[in-house]
Amino acid sequence: MSETSIALAHDVLLALCLVGAWAVICFYVVLTIAGYLYSREARRKRAPEPDEWPGVSILVPAHNEEIVMAGTLDSLLHLDYPRERMEIIVIDDSSTDRTRRVIEHMMATDRRLKLVAIPPGLGGRGKSHALNHGARYARHELVAVYDADNAPEPQSLRMLVAELVADEQLAATVGKVRTLNRATNLLTRCINIEFISFQWIIQAGRWRLFGLASLPGTNYVIRREALARVGGWDAGAIADDAELTVRLGQEGYQVKFVPYAVTWEPEPQHWGVWLRQRLRWARGGTYVVRKFLPRLGRLRRRELALEVLHLLTIYHFFFVLLVLSDLIFISGLLSGAASGPVAGPLLTLWALALAIFLLQMAVSLAIEGEHTPLNLLVTVVMYFTYCQLWVYICAKAHYLDVVRQERLSWDKTARVPRPAQSPGN
């Protein structure tokens, strides 16, 4: 093959990468604007409180949660919701530590607390499995899900329920998740910024434009009737939230993002723990893509395709783009055809993409009131460090799925004790 044709091939591929990347970047810019607009609307237009609050069964799956259980149950017991219309079912999924003791100690102080205990040997099969067990004993028409390390704000449940009751088309309402230990180290600061931007850009932006939001795994309320209709949680899915979102959509239901219903949770403080968590999410996301991509054309709500495509983009498309562009650069260096007929301000385009990324992060931080100089500096550092680890995560996920064909199994994130600071500080 002649040098000219190699150079041409380089440039065509590079152009395709650039066009693809910029299409996604522009789409996210639109989402950012929509997210900002929704942040203002959501504050002004809150659903009215119902005359009679419906009953809510709160499910809390727990596996070896002795460090965080008491604090979580305390937060749930202090939710501002009519006592007689609420029950809290803790699903002890074969814990081998003192989780059960902590639960029983708290059960002695409040009658709303109940326990489903899966004996050792029969449990440990993942969160979906535990939730399905718990849901069987729920006696109210609404089911809320909170992770065992969460600290929901007192008014969050009321907000979620009020929005759900106000619109019969909704199957579920989801709140926002914030990082409790965001000031601990660089990793937690990066996670904090990532969560804020994901929720204000993806969740809020998609809801505003397409009436689409995805379940986040915690801090959501779902109608029990809708849950029963779709057959509960998929025990084979690690990303139970994303998978359930699509199945709900298949039945014609919507999921609404309620940004001012907030829960706080501590995030991984060590890189190893974080990498394992994200690997699980990547593999879970790939499971959802594989399950629903073949049926994309047959999805009852076309907007659901966005959810599947979003997972496809972040776990596959971006990864492929990055790897392709790196390959092009390396092969260009080797063949001496680094500059071909496609001329252009490549460095300027890259700088512009970086500037747009920083601007998007700044906007979402500003919506949350966290646009401090430190956070803005961390965002810059994040682009060159935290975000680049995504290549490793996606590569490893693909390797495990495609090459090793390793079975998906539940890998629990190691818990972090709650910091002494209160959530708002």
């Binding site: 202090h78 501002d80 919701y81 009519p82 006592r83 003791r101 029983e104 100690h105 059960m107 002695a108 102080t109 009658r111 109940k114 326990l115 489903v116 205990a117 899966i118 004996p119 029969l122 067990h133 069987r136 004993y137 704000e153 007192p154 008014q155 001012y260 209160s422 708002g424």
Partner: protein, 461 residues
């Protein structure tokens, strides 16, 4: 072709000029406000002067008018707020009237409802200084604010001035439909301490069970021993089980000794399972004398249903309400009292195999009371009578092996031998190391009996 000027420098100079102008304006307005504040303060100082002569009264009136017509209402409001801290009611009333006329109160009310976090805090502080009926009404609403820091600040501000009026309104707020508002009000009343007692006691008679429950909990947090006379009758008279539980908890904090006896009665005879469960927990938390034995007896008398299993046969344990919750509360209480898992398991096995009926429970309770007497002869009699109750009393007897008197220890060992349950083997084996020979002899005899019985049981099974 060149233009002869540098556009970058021009733009830079223009931006610098804008910045400078902005800073200059800011400094100017700040100076202006500081000057106005100084003038307003001088006028306010005339308000503070004693109005003992006609001239002084007229001067005060004209000072009020000057403040109302002042050119900078913000400065006037800030200066007048300082006068609110005076103890003289006349000066305070005059200051509040000025604030009303310059619409400062309206601004603070608006800020409290719709302002930013900082604006809300400033408004709370200001309304707290005002402290009259209108201000307290606004602050009460802020107790239910979405932001807990705002709610907390409001609760502090309410109590800053007229404590009587504040307590009255806070006590009424215990019945608020917003649970969070009610709980914040309760926390504020607890901070007022004994001053708020009468208001809380009046809420014990409220028609709203939430108000009664929060009042009881708050009285418990205050912890005044005198309150026991108010709380005791409610244990039987209160119809709502959640309120009864709160009253029991309050009594435990107020007077542990009286509470222990009442808690035992509740644990045996209250019609509501949660009250019974909570009574056992409270006994354990109080570490009341005899609590361990009482809980063991309760375990022996509790129903043995361990919860339902799902129809699909997947063996999950469902702990929801009723007898199973009482049992779990007793087990949690035994752990709290320091009992090990193996001993608890043994006690559960004994209870499961030989549950106590009501008459046996009464006899066991009476015998256990004897075990707690000072006189060793009574304790010996108690140990003997417990052996007649049977295996269910084994747990109580095992705890009595630590009695300081060797005669009692020996009788306990003999009683365990008479009962003959294999669960007492470990406890009896420890007695073989007892310093007293009679105890060692009684323990070895008891061990032989128990081992023989267990062996016979194995052979016949």
């Amino acid at each position: 072709m060149s233009f002869g000027y540098d556009p970058v420098r021009s733009i830079g100079l223009f931006l610098a000029g804008l910045l400078g102008a902005g800073l200059g304006l800011r400094v100017f307005f700040r100076w202006r406000h500081a000057a106005a504040l100084g003038r307003a303060r001088r006028i306010v100082s005339r308000l503070r002067a004693p109005a003992t002569t006609l001239a002084a009264v007229e001067d005060r009136s004209s000072a009020l008018e000057e403040l109302v017509d002042f050119s900078d209402p913000r400065a006037a409001a800030a200066a007048v707020r300082e006068a609110l801290r005076e103890n003289d009611d006349t000066i305070r009333s005059a200051a509040i009237e000025v604030l009303r006329q310059i619409r400062a109160l309206d601004v603070w009310r608006r800020d409290l409802r719709k302002g930013s976090f900082k604006q809300k805090l400033r408004a709370i502080e200001a309304l707290g200084d005002v402290g009259d009926e209108r201000a307290v009404a606004e602050l009460l609403e802020a107790l239910g604010d979405d932001d807990p820091d705002i709610a907390r600040a409001a609760s502090h501000a309410i109590c800053a001035r007229d404590a009587d009026y504040a307590c009255e309104r806070l006590a009424e707020a215990l019945a608020s439909p917003s649970r969070r508002l009610a709980e914040t009000a309760a926390a504020a009343l607890v901070r007022m301490g004994e001053f708020a007692e009468d208001y809380l006691v009046s809420q014990l008679g409220s028609l709203d069970p939430q108000a009664r429950r929060l009042a009881a909990e708050s009285l418990g947090s205050i912890g005044d021993e005198k309150l026991k006379d108010v709380l005791l009758p409610l244990l039987t008279a209160e119809p709502d089980p959640e309120v009864r539980t709160a009253v029991a908890g309050a009594l435990a904090r107020v007077d542990g000794d009286i509470a222990a006896a009442e808690l035992q009665r509740l644990a045996h005879s209250d019609p509501d399972w949660f009250v019974r469960a909570r009574a056992y927990s409270l006994l354990a938390e109080l570490e009341a004398p005899g609590a361990l034995e009482f809980l063991l007896l309760g375990l022996a008398a509790s129903e043995t249903d361990l919860g339902s299993f799902s129809d699909e046969g997947d063996n999950v344990e469902w702990v929801s309400d009723g007898a199973v919750r009482v049992r779990r509360a007793i087990v949690a209480g035994l752990r709290l009292l320091g009992m090990g898992d193996e001993d608890i398991a043994a006690a559960e096995r004994r209870a499961g195999a030989n549950p106590l009926g009501p008459e046996e429970l009464e006899e066991a309770s009476a015998a256990t009371s004897l075990l707690r007497q000072r006189d060793p002869a009574s304790r010996v009699e108690g140990a003997r009578r417990l052996s007649e109750v049977g295996a269910a009393a084994g747990g109580v007897l095992a705890t009595a092996l630590g009695d300081p008197d060797p005669l009692v220890r020996a009788e306990v060992a003999r009683s365990l031998g008479r009962i003959g349950s294999g669960d007492s083997l470990a406890a009896l084996a420890k007695c073989l190391q007892d310093p007293d020979a009679s105890v060692r002899l009684a323990a070895s005899t008891a061990l032989r009996t128990v081992v023989t019985r267990e062996a016979t049981k194995e052979l016949t099974d």
